[in-house]
């Protein structure tokens, strides 16, 4: 096994210098990096089948990569652990989980009592919402305990290499997610009243008002908070289709974790299901990591994510198929291809429209559900509880920042640190940031007059974003400050100033949707195009295919110059000459030119298994048969099939079971939901016992 599955160069991320550690996987030596997870190490070594399910020997691999399911379980030094949450250690012996684990021989323990801690506010989750709330609380001197289950703060921001939307003044727009994480972390670390526990998972909210925490992975603590803020983020929705549990089918978050956090080349060829922002951005991240994107399907007639994200992908050469769904993931033991089809207005696949794409990975990005169990339990138990960010309402990270700030003040008011809150202005900003995309405006593609230089905005859908307006030193770009959702207007004529070709608007645009056309010199105008595929990906003299806003090829042109400056922050500026008429229409450069699918030989291995409960391997058919036989209580279905009794506690299957009811025409009013029980994740009994070596 070699180290070939690492990302060696990346346009945005720099691989850290880390010490190597030696591991054994199935008896063979392999290498990993200190501080990385077992799952990252295995992927880097080309392993993505981590074990086989005891019920049917089906292959198991990564699914959530977020510590929520237990799909990635392996045996590390004899103990079953989640590969995605457990860090490698020198000399670690890792084996696939293929059978029930044997508990290791253990001598008698000594016991220490569980520590109980009182705080004014406990915050679960250190993502954009949690960190923003903690910053506000910290400024007011409130004693806060912030717990987060990951090894670093930032939540999903740490996976986001792209620049953020929104407004520069309000929410770091134009800054990359990874850098926002660092800024927010810096803010909370400055407050003396804030204590932070990383690698610490909230396990349960109890009726006696205490919250159980797995502290730093190996100790149990009970926290009695005066107020509780649940900022636990979201989990990805799952999808029911044939072969949906084959290794290689996983969520966009898992993919971003492997690629952007762990810098593992998790795939060579990817297919994306879902055209919301999550799927669109994950596909872009794949391309940046040197991974081909074979295509993307979206069930709706239009992608739900921002048009700039969608257009950007189309420009890079990713086939985007709307009104399409995934029929099956196919392969022998892992994903080798995917079958998709067009759907009619009733969401039924249209026979004859099936298409297969070769790929090794199918990303499922079909929306998010709030992680709000703790909120509901605490509310039921009469605690002073608040929710912020995705745990409250699924929205962009920028909106989560505001939701966190607002809840921070609400909590401070509850605790008496503020007499009253005045968060209306923040609430208005949050509302704007949460806005769904609005109208699409026709793009102005008139030829540029000779002697003129100006930016062209390939940004023609109303979304909450305005960093371009704040960076123009001449003030030539205008978006109504009252409503940053409007598209930018170029107002050089109105104010009588001229563009100085500083390129600042090009590099700050999160959508890579601004180009500069310079017709000041004789001959064809010079077009400057933002490009984020790293140094060396494109060079002077290369022939490239330039494309219009939605990815239609305009022609081949030669690269004149590639500039990568400190100010452009990892966004390269590529310059090409193009004709008067073509120049304003150029919005990007194609980066992948895929073989037509008809030329690809596919081996067809379609499984007929469609799994609803992946922990206990319960099929859709089993669930539907019980519903058809009259079951209306999900607890009864659980008793009969074990769906929801597995390691993940029903996090994945419960929404799918509810969906099965809807598909069979059963009203939600008739259905009794599964009763949620502690624990949030499985934890060793010795941790609760306070067991140590005697």
């Amino acid at each position: 096994m070699g180290m070939e599955q690492r990302i060696q160069t990346h346009p945005i991320l720099t691989p850290e210098e880390r010490n190597r550690v030696r591991l054994a996987w199935e008896g063979s030596d392999c290498f990993a990096y200190e501080g990385e997870t077992i799952s990252a190490a295995l992927f880097a070594n080309g392993v993505r089948v981590f074990g086989h399910h005891i019920k049917d020997q089906s292959p198991q691999g990564i699914y959530c990569a977020n510590g929520q399911c237990a799909q990635c379980t392996v045996l590390a030094d004899g103990l079953p652990v989640k590969a995605c949450m457990t860090l490698v250690k020198e000399g670690m012996v890792i084996e696939p989980a293929n059978a029930l684990p044997e508990l290791p021989e253990t001598s008698a323990s000594s016991f220490t009592a569980v520590e109980t801690i009182e705080v004014e506010c406990l915050v679960i989750g250190g993502g954009p919402a949690g960190l923003s709330a903690v910053d506000e609380l910290g400024k007011l001197g409130v004693s806060v305990l912030l717990v987060d289950d990951k090894h670093r703060l930032g939540g999903k921001l740490v996976l986001q290499t792209h620049r953020f939307f929104g407004s520069i003044n309000a929410c770091y727009a134009g800054t990359r997610g990874i850098d926002i994480a660092t800024k927010l972390e810096g803010l909370v670390r400055d407050h003396p009243s804030v204590e932070i526990w990383l690698d610490s998972t909230a396990l349960a909210v109890f009726s006696d008002g205490l919250v159980g925490i797995l502290k730093q992975g190996n100790e149990y603590a009970l926290v009695r908070p005066k107020t509780l803020l649940v900022a636990a983020g979201a989990r990805e929705k799952s999808l029911i289709f044939q072969g949906n549990t084959l290794p290689g089918v996983y969520g966009a978050g898992a993919f971003q974790t492997l690629v952007n956090r762990d810098m593992v080349k998790a795939s060579n060829r990817l297919f994306v299901v879902g055209g919301g922002n999550v799927g669109l951005i994950a596909a872009y991240h794949a391309l940046q990591a040197g991974i081909e994107v074979a295509g993307l399907v979206e069930a709706m007639p239009k992608c739900g994510g921002y048009k700039v994200h969608r257009d950007k992908l189309a420009r890079f050469g990713v086939p985007i198929m709307t009104s399409h769904t995934v029929l099956s993931a196919n392969g022998d033991g892992q994903v080798e291809s995917v079958t998709v089809a067009a759907i009619d207005e009733n969401w039924n696949p249209i026979p004859g429209t099936e298409k297969q794409f070769a790929c090794d990975t199918v990303l499922v990005a079909v929306g998010l559900d709030p992680v709000d169990e703790f909120y509901h339990k605490a509310a039921e138990y009469g605690m002073q509880v608040f929710a912020a960010g995705d745990a409250e309402e699924i929205a962009e990270a920028s909106a989560a920042i505001y939701s966190g700030k607002i809840k921070g003040h609400d909590i401070a008011a509850e605790l008496g640190y503020l007499e009253a809150t005045s968060t209306e202005e923040w609430a208005e900003i949050a509302e704007v940031l949460k806005s769904k995309p609005g109208a699409v405006i026709l793009e102005d593609t008139h030829p540029i007059e000779p002697g003129v230089v100006k930016p062209i905005f390939h940004c023609n859908e109303e979304i909450p974003c305005n960093p371009c307006t704040s960076v123009c030193p001449q003030g030539l770009i205008f978006i109504e400050p009252e409503d940053i959702r409007l598209v930018p207007k170029y107002i050089a004529d109105e104010i009588g100033k001229e563009c100085i070709a500083c390129n600042k608007c090009i590099t700050i645009c999160p959508g890579l949707a601004i180009t500069l056309v310079d017709a000041r010199k004789e001959g064809d105008p010079l077009v400057t195009i933002p490009y984020e595929f790293g140094p060396g990906a494109i060079e002077k003299g290369d022939m490239v295919t330039v494309v219009d806003i939605e990815g239609k090829a305009l022609g081949q042109v030669q690269v004149e110059r590639v500039r990568l400056t400190r100010a452009s922050d990892r966004t390269a500026l590529v310059q090409v000459h193009a004709s008067d008429s073509m120049a304003p229409r150029i919005a990007g450069i194609m980066v992948q030119d895929l073989e037509p699918e008809s030329k690809i030989q596919l081996t067809e291995r379609i499984t007929d298994e469609t799994i609803v409960c992946r922990c206990e391997r319960v099929t859709l058919q089993e669930i539907k048969d019980l519903i058809a036989a009259g079951s209306r209580d999900i607890n009864e279905i659980k008793g009969l099939t074990r769906a929801g009794m597995g390691a993940c506690g029903g996090k994945t299957c419960q929404p799918l079971i509810q969906r099965a009811f809807r598909e069979l025409g059963i009203s939600p009013d008739e259905v009794t939901l599964n009763v949620p029980r502690p624990l949030f994740v499985e934890v060793e009994m010795g941790v609760f016992a306070g067991a140590g070596d005697e």
């Binding site: 079953p80 684990p101 044997e102 508990l103 008698a108 109890f206 205490l210 149990y220 009994m685 010795g686």
Partner: protein, 385 residues
Amino acid sequence: MSKLTYDVIIVGAGSIGAPTAYFLAQAGLQVLVVDKHPSVGQGCNKAAIGGIRATHSDPAKIHLGQESIRVFSTWKEEHGDDIEWIAGGYSFVAYREQEERTLRNLLVIQKEHGLNIDWYDKEEFLEIVPALNPNGLIGGTYSSEDGSASPMRSALAFYRHAKSLGARFHFGETVTGLALANGKVVGVCTNKETYYSQVVINAAGAAASQVAAMAGVDVPIEPDSHEAGITEPVAPFIKPMLVDIRPTIDSANYYFYQHATGQIAFCITPNPPIKGTDRRETSVFLPQVSRRMVDLVPKLRHIKVRRTWRGLYPMTPDGFPIVGWAKEVEGLLLAVGMCGQGYMLGPGVGVLLTHIIQDSISSEEKDVLAHLRPDRHYAGQEQLK
């Protein structure tokens, strides 16, 4: 028979109601079961961890336990449903002389009633349960015919077979009153309908007192709550249910076993008891039970806890169930106050109730009923609650 009139109406489709419906339907009776929950076993049946024993301290429960084991252990063979029965046995452990004495004393009556149980000294006992902490271990009892099964699967099996024999189940229907005429119970009123029958069985578990009160009958039941949990599955390493009856400052006994799935299911008895019907999880349970379990079986230190919940034990003053006709009113048959053992006693109770209604009780059953009759003095005290 009209759709509103039945031979027997059972209030409660739980640990007692479900098997009873099955045995009554099997005897050819028209049965209606009414339950406020949306499906079978959703009260405290599903809160049981699944232990099944005949190893009790008195002839009545020994008899019911033996009957139950006969039903559970042959169910798959006879009916096909896998209720996950395993004859793993029960072991009561002794680390102190007090417990050794209690357990040895009980052996006399247990053996007298045909239980296959014995005392084993430390070394022999460790052969049966090698995972036990040997420090301070004196020995313990082992009864090989006891075992375990899945409460939920059992309830569903009884329900399914009762239904196929013609029993009717009305879920999501709350009993609001008992219909009385001339001092007799003649039916059951629910939030939807009134149903008629000459026999109404109160199998309402923790709500049994309220149901009995609807006919002016006072049954001395006070529920208390116990928390329970289950782990991830691991390779088999514990055969019997382990019961440790040593009290500590905040808990009485605790017990756990390895289920057919490989999971360890566990439960503890708080001391003093937590009375009432609160079923919400508390922060006390896991540290309390884990410490005792890891101390008893050190290997458990590394097993992962998956889920916890809390159930109710409908307790009677003496710790024994109440089975028999209510004295105050005709037509009301009580099968209540199972003291947390409804699941393991359920099939035995179901058989007994069927014999009562058919008027075909054996002399042995007569003794059982004498012991469990509603109008007893509640003076004794069950020693292996």
